[in-house]
Symmetry: C2
Subunit: 192 residues, 2 copies
C-alpha cells in the first residue's frame, strides 16, 4: 500500500491500481489503464509482475486487512482500561484509512468484485476484525464506560461512522490526520 | 421510489433499476437485466418508457434528492429549539434512507456515473442540502447545545455517519426503522 520511497515495481503497480480503483472503480479500470499510468507499453509487461486485475484487487484487499489487524493489535497491546483501549483502537483504525485511502476503497467497496473463494475469505477476515471491535465496545459497556444499550447497533454505528471517513477525508487539509482522528474519536466515544 | 401498490409501469421499472443498481452497481447493470426482471422480452419495450439507462439513474437521483429535501423541510417546519430541530432532521434523514435503500445507493454512490451537466446539477443540490444540515448544527453550537468545536468537521462526521446506515440497515430486522433512527440520532447528538 506504500506509494512513496524505494518501492518495488509491483508496489508501484499496486499503488497505481489502488488509486484507479478508488477514482474510477474496479470494473471501469482496465489493465491497459494501469499500464498507461505506469508508462508501460501496451500493458503486456504488466503481466510479468501480476497475473491479472483480480490478483491486484486481492493483493490490495489483503494488505489493507493486514494493516487494520496490525493497527488494532498495537492499539490493544497497551495495558489500559476498556475506554482508553477503545479510544486507541478507533484512532488506529482511522489512521489506517487516512494513510491508505486507495486501499481503503478496495477494503470497503471494491472487494465486492472478488470472485469465490476469495470473496468469502475476505469477508471472514473482515467479520473477525469487526468482532474484535464489538468485543472492545462490550468491555466498555460492562465497565460502565458507555451508555449504548444495544452492543450490535452501537458497533454497526461505530464501524460505519469510522469507515465513512474515507469519503470526506482530504489529505493535506486544514487539519492533520491525527487531529481529525482524535476529534472524530471524541465525538464517537461521547456518542457511545 | 415506490415499490408497492398501484404504481405505473415506469415506477415499476424504476424500482427494479434501483434494486439492481444497488446490488450490482450501475455499470454492471444492463437495460437487458432490467427488462429480464420485468419479464419484458428482449428489452426493446423498455424503451417505450425510458430513453436509456442514464435517464433511469437521473430520475432515481432526482427522486431521492426530492425526498431528502421534503423530509428536511417537514422536520424543520415544527416550531422548536435548535437541538430538537436537529434531532428531527436527523431522524427524518435516516428514515428516507431506510425507506428508499435502492434510491439511497444512487444518491450516495451510483450518481458518479451521471454525465455532465447532470452530474454537476446533482452535486449542487446535494451540496445545498448538506449546507442546510451544517446551518442546523451551527444553530445548536450558537445556542450552546453542542460541544463540537469545528462545525465543518462535525457536519462531515454527522452526514457521513448517517449515510453509512445504508450499508448495514436491514429492513425487517430485530428493530424497526423508527427505533434504529431514534437510537442512532441519540448517539450522534450525544457525540456532538
Amino acid at each position: 500500500m506504500s506509494t512513496q520511497g524505494n518501492t518495488s515495481r509491483l508496489d508501484q503497480i499496486r499503488a497505481v491500481a489502488e488509486r484507479l480503483f478508488r477514482d474510477k472503480g474496479y470494473l471501469a479500470t482496465s489493465m491497459r489503464d494501469i499500464a498507461d499510468e505506469m508508462h508501460m507499453k501496451g500493458g503486456g509487461s504488466l503481466y510479468a509482475h501480476i497475473k491479472g486485475k483480480e490478483d491486484l484487487l486481492w493483493s490490495i484487499a489483503n494488505e489493507a486487512t493486514d494493516a487494520f489487524f496490525a493497527a488494532l493489535e498495537t492499539a490493544c497491546a497497551v495495558e489500559s482500561n476498556p475506554h482508553t483501549r477503545l479510544r486507541a483502537a478507533i484512532i488506529a483504525h482511522l489512521l489506517v484509512i487516512t494513510e491508505h485511502l486507495g486501499a481503503a476503497a478496495v477494503y470497503f467497496d471494491e472487494w465486492r468484485h472478488l470472485t469465490e473463494p476469495r470473496r468469502s475469505q475476505f469477508m471472514a477476515r473482515r467479520d473477525a476484525y469487526e468482532q474484535q471491535f464489538q468485543a472492545l465496545l462490550e468491555a466498555c459497556m460492562k465497565a460502565g464506560d458507555c451508555r449504548a444499550a444495544d452492543a450490535r447497533l452501537a458497533t454497526l454505528h461505530l464501524l460505519s461512522a469510522m469507515n465513512a471517513m474515507r469519503h470526506w477525508y482530504k489529505p493535506y487539509g486544514r487539519l492533520s490526520a491525527q487531529q481529525v482522528a482524535e476529534s472524530l474519536a471524541e465525538m464517537l466515544l461521547r456518542g457511545l
